[in-house]
């Protein structure tokens, strides 16, 4: 059976939703004839035509605002940020207009904002960012960070069908590096549900995005030493799966929180607060954070290598926790 890459899975998901629902359309910079900087909308112009595949000027705030307007009229726009870093330019429309319409006046804004995030490709400070926390801290939004091709396709479909604004952060390092066989039939993955990628009795590693693979590699290595990691992939950050987080924490009693995003104010803080608030009695050791340091994402290979959390970070911390 043919294997589907992460990037192709997203493309298929959007494509199928556009076939299913004529209210779905894509807009963004170079999404038309060029098919998007990473080819996520490749072929859509030919298939669906100019009115549903809209090339825009370089106006992130305008793109988001226009998507909001269309969504208020019942359309289901899927707006591309050429790089997730540029979502900063649409921050106000997303956090103040899109996020608050339903709460203020009951108006649904069913839209998706998607784009490539994350490092590991020597993109430097403006093509490697992980902007998820800016939106996780904004009530009214949903935030999704898929790690596999299956989840990418299932979650982009759920995001498009969702009646609230969803931020869909793709990890560009995974675009063409991972593949899997996808079921031919229509399927979705629910927003807000985590998945356990590996069961283990000793230590829980709660993570998401590209870091899922770092955790799994670390688990393989520690296995040899008889240390069993449980790896939980959150998949969604807002809403996030409180039950799954508490369940694994209570099960292993030792928790590592791992993300590629920077440390202070990162998602690990939210998880640490939840766990120390609601699973305190189950903990047998300190909750440990493994994150990028608090710096912009540097360009030069040795610097970026230093910046990104590594398998050796997870194994080191896991050994310490195990010995604790």
């Amino acid at each position: 059976m043919a294997l589907t890459t992460y990037v192709e899975a997203i493309r298929q998901g959007i494509w199928e939703e556009m076939e299913r629902d004529e209210n779905v359309f894509v807009l963004g910079e170079d999404v038309g004839i060029y098919g998007g900087a990473f080819k996520v909308t490749d072929g859509m112009l030919e298939k669906f035509g100019e009115s549903r595949v809209v090339d825009t000027p370089i106006s992130e705030s305008g793109i988001v605002g226009a998507a909001i307007g269309a969504a208020l009229m019942g359309m289901r726009p899927v707006a591309e940020m050429q790089f997730a870093d540029f979502i900063s330019c649409g921050f106000d429309q997303i956090t103040n207009f899109a996020a608050k319409c339903r709460y203020r006046w009951g108006a649904p804004v069913p839209m998706v904002i998607r784009g490539p995030s994350g490092g590991g490709i020597h993109g430097g400070p403006f093509h490697s960012q992980n902007p998820e926390m800016y939106f996780v801290h904004t009530p009214g939004l949903k935030v999704v960070c898929p790690a596999t091709a299956y989840d990418a396709k299932g979650l982009i479909k759920s995001a498009i069908r969702d009646n609230d604004p969803v931020l869909f952060f793709e990890h560009k390092f995974l675009y063409r590096r991972i593949k899997e066989a996808l079921p031919p039939e229509d399927f979705t993955v629910p927003i807000g549900k985590a998945i356990t990628r590996r069961k283990g009795r000793d230590i829980s590693v709660i993570t998401y995005g590209a870091m899922v693979y770092i955790a799994l590699d670390a688990a393989k290595e520690l296995e040899k030493e008889g240390i069993e990691l449980e790896v939980v992939d959150l998949r969604s950050l807002l809403p996030y799966d409180r039950e799954a987080v508490l369940e694994t924490a209570k099960k292993t009693s030792k928790v590592i929180l791992l993300h590629e995003d920077t440390r202070i104010g990162g998602f690990a803080g939210e998880l640490a607060a939840l766990i120390s608030e609601e699973a305190f009695d189950y903990l047998d050791g300190p909750i440990r954070r493994i994150t990028a340091p608090d710096t912009p994402v540097p360009y030069s290979p040795p610097l970026e290598e230093f910046f990104l959390p590594k398998v050796s970070d997870v194994t080191r911390v896991a050994r310490e926790l195990h010995a604790y």
């Binding site: 000027p57 705030s61 605002g65 269309a70 106000d92 429309q93 709460y103 203020r104 009214g140 609230d164």
Partner: protein, 338 residues
């Protein structure tokens, strides 16, 4: 006041026109209703502490929202700004609901979640304003874009102030609307001040309409205190939008006859300016013209005023009796199904 078309592109149907007689009388009614309602809110309810937070009114600018929206179809959309009360009235939001909004009551369109003119209703095709000035400009473009995609001949009226045109979102939105030829009428309330900041400190051009040229869009200047002139310019821009010819920028020259908000005494505004514009009050202007043309009598005007006052009295009473939201409503309605 001189009226010129700044952009070479001519507006569809340049021939100017006037509304039917009964429409002109309806216009007077809505002008007076708007004025009376905002007076009641600002000068009474706010001072009585029954309306909390900030209160902004459109005193002296009523002709703009009303002249532009009086002939809209129910399926046309308006994205009002903070001085466009008339648009809410014309789109059919009733007095009690509006007053409940100002009082933070559960019966208001935001159920107390937001205050003053920060209200909307999809049933009325009214988009709720957010404070961030200019944000509604690309939103209006997107609404118009959806009409094009669906082949609908609906239009969007998007009013804003002179100050809002300095926002990046204004530029991005107007540019996108022009590139996509969206059916939007961008309507500027140029009251010559942004809070305390006069026009010359906001822009290096004489007219907001001068900015239309940057978007290949017609830019027309009208006397914003002449409701019939606003009506005519809007009529032509709406026709142009419905015909698929794209957006138009209409600049309505007017003046803010109050402070920026209820707490501002506007001491920074030269008194002569207030006097100059007081003489051009849009309501008295229309009254004089209707009387002169025998379309209304002083008794009828008097009676109209009485009717308006009692309508407002009644709505205020109802709104005051309306319940506040339940405190726990605070955590409801953030997401679908909550």
């Amino acid at each position: 006041m001189n009226v010129k078309t700044v952009n070479s592109t001519p507006l569809a149907n340049q021939r100017s026109d006037v509304p039917a007689a009964e429409t002109q009388v309806r216009i007077l009614y809505y002008l007076k209703l708007t004025r009376a309602l905002e007076d009641r809110i600002e000068r009474k309810l706010y001072r009585q502490g029954k309306v909390l937070g900030g209160v902004y009114v459109g005193r002296g600018q009523e002709a703009i929202a009303i002249g532009s929206c009086i002939d809209l179809r129910p399926d046309d959309v308006v994205c009002p700004s903070h001085r466009d009360m008339g648009a809410y009235l014309l789109k059919g939001m009733d007095l009690r609901t509006i007053l409940a909004q100002y009082m933070g009551k559960k019966t208001g369109p935001t159920k107390g979640k937001d205050g003053n003119l920060h209200m909307g209703s999809l049933d009325h095709n009214l988009i709720a304003f957010i404070s961030m000035l200019g944000d509604s400009i690309p939103v209006a473009a997107g609404i118009g874009l959806s009409f094009k995609m669906r082949g609908q001949d609906r239009v969007v009226i998007c009013p804003f102030g002179d100050g809002a045109t300095s926002r990046g979102d204004w530029h991005e939105g107007v540019n996108m609307a022009s590139v996509f030829k969206c059916p939007v009428v961008y309507l500027c309330n140029n009251n010559q001040y942004a809070y305390s900041t006069p026009l010359e400190r906001q822009m290096a051009v004489e007219n907001v309409a001068d900015r239309a040229a940057a978007y290949g869009m017609p830019g027309e200047i009208v006397d914003g205190n002449d409701v019939l002139a606003v009506w005519d310019a809007a009529r032509r821009a709406i026709a142009r939008a419905r015909a698929g010819e794209g957006p138009t920028l209409i600049e309505c020259k007017t003046f803010r006859m109050t402070g920026h908000s209820a707490h501002d005494d506007a001491s920074y505004v030269p008194p002569e300016l207030f006097q100059f514009w007081e003489e051009r009050d849009p309501i008295r202007r229309l009254e004089r013209s209707l009387l002169k043309r025998g379309l209304i009598t002083t008794d009828e005007i008097e009676e109209m005023q009485q009717r308006i006052n009692s309508e407002i009295d009644e709505a205020v009473q109802q709104a005051e009796q309306d319940p506040y939201p339940d405190p726990s409503d605070c955590v409801r309605g953030v997401y679908d199904g909550q």
